[in-house]
């Protein structure tokens, strides 16, 4: 049976991606991450073509379940699925049976019963994606769960950085902002450490999780100290929706100490790049000037996002659980 398949591919070395779900970057080895980033290169090239679509996932149904507002991630996953010719259904908590009290598990089992092949989930509760992965037989991709993880964001950040810097190992990165509520920070921190990067985190003490240094990062409370000599600065959004309102006096006071300006960038390495997962609060996390400067990779991150999510869908699709 294997032999009627053309030789062009049978001779190709394959490296199976061992995971049946993509829940957290903590589960990924350096080889796993490199594999996904390498695959994403091909999809990045497709995004530059006149016809940005390939027939690979024809007939496959992908369900985007978004229990939390999202523009970038949802449209990025939708576009990624559509560029692979999959049928993509967007399901959001508002205007659905969730309002009628249906549980997450029941909703997902119903969606699975419709013949969905892949489920992408964004949920305000940490662990929601893992919960679904446990109960469903189709692959689950975590598109952000509470304050826990956002693996595709970390992967696209690494992809963008690798493009800008030519490699990852040894890079020095500062992650600045609301570290304690940020799944982006956590997923990036874990993935960056796995890839041999040096990470500093910087925030007011009230926005730093307890024992954050256990992740193997350097903790700074002054922005000047955090950015000194770094190759990349990742600014995080202040998540007003996840604060109790007692973590800092007001936005202006936060911005006075933690808003990235040209003055800070001058302390970093000469070719330092600035990243932000979006949406930006201009004047809070970074100045207008820096958001639009040549050093800003913010829009490259968005472009990379589609390529990386295409790679994730391509690699995860068809994985069957026992």
């Amino acid at each position: 049976m294997p032999d009627v398949i053309d030789h062009a591919v049978t001779a190709t070395p394959t490296r199976p991606f061992p995971h049946t779900d993509l829940l957290d970057t903590a589960d990924l080895t350096a080889a796993d991450i490199t594999y996904l980033l390498d695959q994403a290169e091909s999809f990045y090239e497709i995004g530059q073509r006149a016809v940005k679509k390939v027939p690979t996932l024809r007939g496959i149904t992908i369900m985007n379940c978004f229990y939390e507002p999202s523009t970038r991630t949802r449209s990025s996953f939708e576009l990624a699925g559509k560029r692979l010719s999959a049928d993509v259904i967007n399901f959001s908590a508002t205007g659905s049976s969730v309002k009628k009290g249906e549980s997450l598990r029941d909703t997902a089992r119903n969606l699975e019963a419709m013949g969905t092949d892949l489920i992408v989930v964004r949920h305000p509760a940490s662990g929601a994606a893992a919960y679904l992965a446990h109960h469903l037989s189709v692959p689950v991709i975590n598109a952000g769960d509470g304050c826990h993880a956002h693996p595709t964001q970390a992967l696209l950040d690494l992809f963008t950085l690798r493009h800008a810097k030519g490699g990852l190992a040894g890079l020095q990165v500062a992650i600045v902002g609301d570290i304690s509520h940020s799944r982006v920070a956590r997923s990036n921190l874990l993935a960056m450490r796995t890839m041999g990067m040096e990470v500093r985190v910087c925030a007011p003490p009230t926005l730093l999780p307890a024992a954050v240094e256990r992740y193997g990062c350097r903790v700074c409370t002054r922005l000047e100290e955090a950015v000194e000599g770094v190759d990349a600065i990742m600014m995080l959004r202040i998540q007003m929706e996840r604060q109790g309102g007692h973590t800092f006096p007001n936005l202006r006071e936060y911005a006075a100490r933690y808003c990235l300006t040209r003055r800070h960038l001058a302390l970093a390495a000469p070719d330092c790049v600035v990243m932000h997962p979006g949406p930006i609060n201009r004047g809070v996390e970074l100045t207008h000037e820096l958001a639009d400067a040549a050093s800003s990779l913010i829009l490259s991150q968005v472009t990379s996002g589609v390529a990386v999510r295409m790679a994730v869908l391509y690699v995860m699709w068809g994985k069957k659980k026992k």
Partner: protein, 192 residues
């Protein structure tokens, strides 16, 4: 995942200098067929089609002093058998150095068999632009076509049984010499 069964070489219809002469002859045929190769690009189906593409471009440059650009096409995403596969072929970035709009594409692959790879390659090329013409050059035509596809330039016709496979080895991949090898399962282990 089904591990490929060990196969042994049972014949070597083309190797060494003869292999090189065959590529030279194909290069001559390509030059002869075209008054002008100014819009031409040689596109290899990776990975062994790419070796053939580079070899042909080199010979064309040596014979006619025409530099024809070389590109690589990864057809994985266009294959019709992906759903049946349990392993995932690694993707390699498709790189074609010129705009295919109005170009003469010389598509190359090492072996022409069912024609399904070439169908996938044609679909992939079309997504990149609208070439004026696509021609197919293969080192080996082993028969057993399942689609109405034929090659314009053939290095060697090698009749095979469907149970056999053809393995083309290039020195670029570390082979001792360039060779076209017929491979089969050892006696006694063959199943239907």
């Amino acid at each position: 995942m089904t591990a490929p069964e060990p196969r042994i070489e049972i014949g070597r219809p083309l190797a060494g200098e003869a292999f090189g002469r065959t590529i030279s002859r194909m290069a001559h045929e390509i030059i002869e067929a075209h008054d002008d190769l100014a819009t031409a690009v040689v596109v290899g189906v990776r990975s062994r089609g790419s070796h053939l593409a580079r070899r042909l471009a080199k010979r064309i440059a040596e014979i006619a002093s025409i530099r024809v650009p070389v590109g690589t096409l990864d057809i994985t995403l266009y294959r019709d058998d992906l759903r049946a596969r349990s392993d995932y072929p690694d993707l390699v970035r498709t790189e074609i150095p010129i705009d295919l709009e109005g170009a003469l594409v010389l598509l190359t692959d090492d072996v022409l068999y069912t024609g399904r790879s070439i169908r996938a390659a044609l679909e992939g090329l079309m997504a990149l632009g609208r070439p004026a013409r696509i021609e197919l050059a293969v080192l080996v035509d082993r028969g057993h076509r399942e689609l109405p596809i034929r090659a314009d330039y053939v290095g060697k016709n090698v009749p095979t049984s469907p149970a056999e496979t053809i393995r083309v080895r290039f020195v670029e991949d570390g082979a001792d010499e360039d060779a076209v090898c017929i491979m089969a399962l050892p006696e006694g282990t063959r199943t239907g």
